[in-house]
């Protein structure tokens, strides 16, 4: 850690706490003494010194949109380069997928994809590509349905470029160079095929590929080619044949209410994951498709299944049960609205859910199975 709590950087940003560590950088929660607000301060990790950090900050600063974390300041103090961004209370999507979600139900997936698409559209509109779009570069608010979704780390794409180029080169010589901590390995599942040929010439279509891969990950619970080194092999094969084969999630079609939405989302995934960059949708087209989707973006709560199945007084049972809501209260749910990729409801499972009116208890729709901590 470069900074300690209490330090004041550039005479303006007082470090409150170390927030988290990304592949290339450290993030601190700071208090901006001039404007009296909490901000995120990002600085390259110890040992990574690169002029491109400022270049990246400048790229990010050009995109001002609700779905892109606002770049507020860039300061250099001694050897330290710091990017100041708006602070988003929550976790990045990569961490959410690792700790909260096995996958997302179609409505929640549509909401996340729609917001990411808007961010990409805003960037492309001013001629900026992200080029390292992946779940860990997308910030989400901590609430159940991720009310706030913002792309971040435009800077890191640029900073990572040299590292990635070097890693790709090393990998070509020796396939054993990849370690789980490598920057490349984190990017691989979302990296467009053309990036492998020539990273620096990859442009806007690479962001669209990444969006398709992320959308696929949200629905399938894993990236289109899986993770790790296996993904590289599969990607190479796909590139050779010129097409990719994707199997839609097995749970598709088991909920009538989202059957159409599932098809539309999967078709969107396909239109983004085209080997030929020319054939992919443009950001504007992705946004248009998202704007035509019918889905529910209602707020969600979280809780734990407390009763299942429901027992009638006469001894019979119903495929329904009750969830005890985090923060208090109890709600009713029915199996038909349980999104779990085939897992049966069980007492103790963590879930998130929308709430609708009901009697004697409110009822949930939809209910999404979460990972248990």
């Amino acid at each position: 850690m470069k900074f300690k709590a209490g330090m004041v950087i550039a005479g303006r940003y007082r470090v409150e706490a170390f927030h988290l560590e990304g592949g290339m950088q450290e993030v601190y929660r700071c208090f901006d003494l001039a404007l009296e607000r909490v901000v995120a301060l990002k600085t390259p990790r110890e040992g990574i010194v690169d002029k491109r950090f400022s270049r990246g900050a400048q790229m990010g600063a050009r995109v001002v949109h609700p779905n892109v974390a606002a770049t507020l300041d860039y300061v250099e103090e001694g050897p330290n380069r710091c990017l100041v961004e708006e602070f988003i209370e929550g976790k990045d999507l990569g961490r959410r997928l690792a700790s909260d979600f096995a996958f997302l139900d179609p409505s929640l997936a549509a909401w996340v994809v729609h917001n990411i698409a808007k961010g990409i559209q805003a960037a492309h509109k001013v001629g900026i590509c992200h080029r390292d779009l992946k779940p860990s570069n997308i910030m989400t608010s901590a609430d159940g349905h991720m009310d706030i979704i913002k792309l971040t780390d435009f800077g890191i794409a640029k900073l990572a470029e040299k590292e990635l180029e070097a890693e790709i080169e090393k990998f070509e010589q020796d396939e054993n160079t990849l370690t789980s901590s490598s920057t490349l390995l984190g990017a691989v599942p979302y990296l467009a095929p053309e990036c492998w040929n020539d990273w620096s010439s990859a442009g806007q279509p690479a962001d669209i590929w990444a969006l398709g891969a992320i959308a696929c990950h949200l629905l399938l619970g894993k990236p289109p080619f899986g993770g790790g080194k296996g993904a590289i092999m599969k990607m190479a094969q796909a590139q050779l044949t010129g097409k990719i084969e994707l199997k839609s999630p097995e749970w598709f079609g088991t909920h009538q209410e989202t059957a159409l939405l599932e098809q539309e989302l999967w078709s969107l995934v396909h239109s983004c994951l085209q080997i030929d960059p020319e054939l992919r949708l443009k950001a504007d087209e992705v946004v248009q498709r998202c704007e035509a989707l019918c889905y529910s973006a209602a707020p969600r709560k979280t809780g734990v299944i407390a009763t299942y199945p429901h027992k009638y007084a006469n001894g019979g049972t119903a495929t329904a049960g009750y969830i005890s809501v985090d923060g208090g209260g109890s709600v009713f749910f029915h199996l038909s609205e349980f999104f779990s990729a085939g897992v049966k409801p069980k007492i103790g499972q963590r879930v998130n859910f929308g709430i609708a009116a009901g009697k004697p208890k409110e009822r949930c729709s939809p209910v999404l199975l979460l990972l248990n901590p």
Partner: protein
């Protein structure tokens, strides 16, 4: 005024703005053009402080970003560096309003959201007007001039600095207390300014509407009964209510934003009836009415009016989420319709209803 080295002035020209001066600058650290706002009269610096607090306190996607402050040698704030909005302004929007009522609603929706976000943290803008909002390059409508915003709701104003036409009638009373309802009134005036080059004469009176209420926006904007995408009565009514001379009769910004949001999806909803694993029926603007009949258990007629799905007729024993259905009931996003009396136990039949619509992500 001495600027920190990171900022380079771009032009000698100065943009007119509320009570201060607005100067475009290049931020050489981030290589972007920003705006510097300084008070013409340094005695107004307290106002600049106020503006700053307002802007920083309200994290709204419909309010400009603040980046920096310029201090003098005594550590007092003399200037604020804010986001430059590069999108369109709305001074000539009235020319296209009539042919694009949906865009008209979308602009007002975003203004209502800005006020909702400000009012939620106790800030009254106090200077909402046509010249004080603009689109960003990404097409988001944002408020930018906070010259006289007050974070103190109980502030007693001696000088009313709001532009006159936008000033609510209660501001004409000496020592008027600044309230959020005054912003709502100004939003109602913005609705006129966006729709038409001329204000109704009653709004120009001082105090406004002394001789009677100004007519509703429906006199200059197409209405839904005449034009498919025209303004619906609910929109017309809520905009009319914004201009109510009685502050307590005006809707809140939260109410306005949710009504306008609903109207951004008008005629685009999809209502789905599902029984077991089968889709029974889909309601939409194309198929706005259906009667569901299950044997002798019960019968239900549901209609879609472009905004809501509601029960038109009930026959026999039908419940919505275990509450007996009655004509006029609205079917919410997801609900279970039970057919048959509770005494039937497991012989009752169940149909689930789901509605959704395209989500508006600005």
């Amino acid at each position: 005024m001495k600027l920190p080295q990171r900022y380079k002035t771009l032009t000698k020209s100065v943009l007119a703005g509320g009570f201060g001066t607005v100067i475009p600058l290049e931020d050489t650290f981030l290589r972007r053009v920003v705006l510097l706002k300084v008070m013409q009269d340094t005695a107004n610096n307290a106002q600049l402080q106020n503006e700053l607090k307002g802007l920083c306190k309200a994290r709204s996607r419909h309010v400009v970003e603040v980046y920096d402050v310029i201090l003098n040698d005594n550590g007092e704030i003399t200037g604020v560096v804010i986001e430059r909005l590069r999108g369109r302004d709305f001074s000539a929007f009235h020319k296209e309003a009539e042919s694009n009522p949906q865009l008209y609603i979308k602009i007002l929706y975003q203004l209502a959201c800005a006020l909702r976000d400000l009012h939620a943290v106790g800030i009254v803008h106090r200077d909402l007007k046509l010249d004080n909002f603009k689109e960003s390059a990404a097409g988001v409508v944002k408020l930018f001039d906070f010259g006289i915003s007050s974070s103190d709701g109980g502030y007693q104003t001696k000088q009313n600095k709001g532009t006159l036409i936008y000033a609510a009638p209660e501001l004409y009373v000496p020592g008027a207390t600044i309230t959020p309802e005054m912003d709502i009134y100004a939003l109602g005036v913005c609705a006129w300014a966006l729709a038409h080059p001329k204000f109704p004469t009653q709004l120009l009176e001082m105090p406004p509407q002394t001789s009677g209420r100004a007519s509703s926006i429906s006199t200059v904007m197409p209405t839904a009964d005449k034009q498919a995408d025209g303004l619906h009565k609910e929109v017309i009514d809520i905009l009319y209510a914004c201009l109510d001379p009685q502050p307590k009769n005006r809707p809140s910004a939260d109410q306005i934003s949710s009504v306008l949001a609903r109207h951004l999806s008008r005629n685009k909803h999809r209502g789905l009836f599902v029984q077991g694993m089968h889709k029974v029926f889909e309601l939409s603007a194309k198929q706005p009415s259906v009667t569901l009949k299950i044997g002798t258990l019960g019968q239900l007629k549901v209609t879609y009016d472009g905004l809501r799905f509601s029960i038109a007729e009930v026959d026999g024993s039908v419940s919505i989420n275990n509450v007996p259905a009655e004509p006029g009931n609205v079917l919410h996003e997801a609900c279970v319709l039970g057919f048959g009396d509770t005494s039937l136990g497991s012989s009752r039949q169940w149909v689930t209803f789901f509605s959704s619509h395209p989500e508006v992500v600005i």
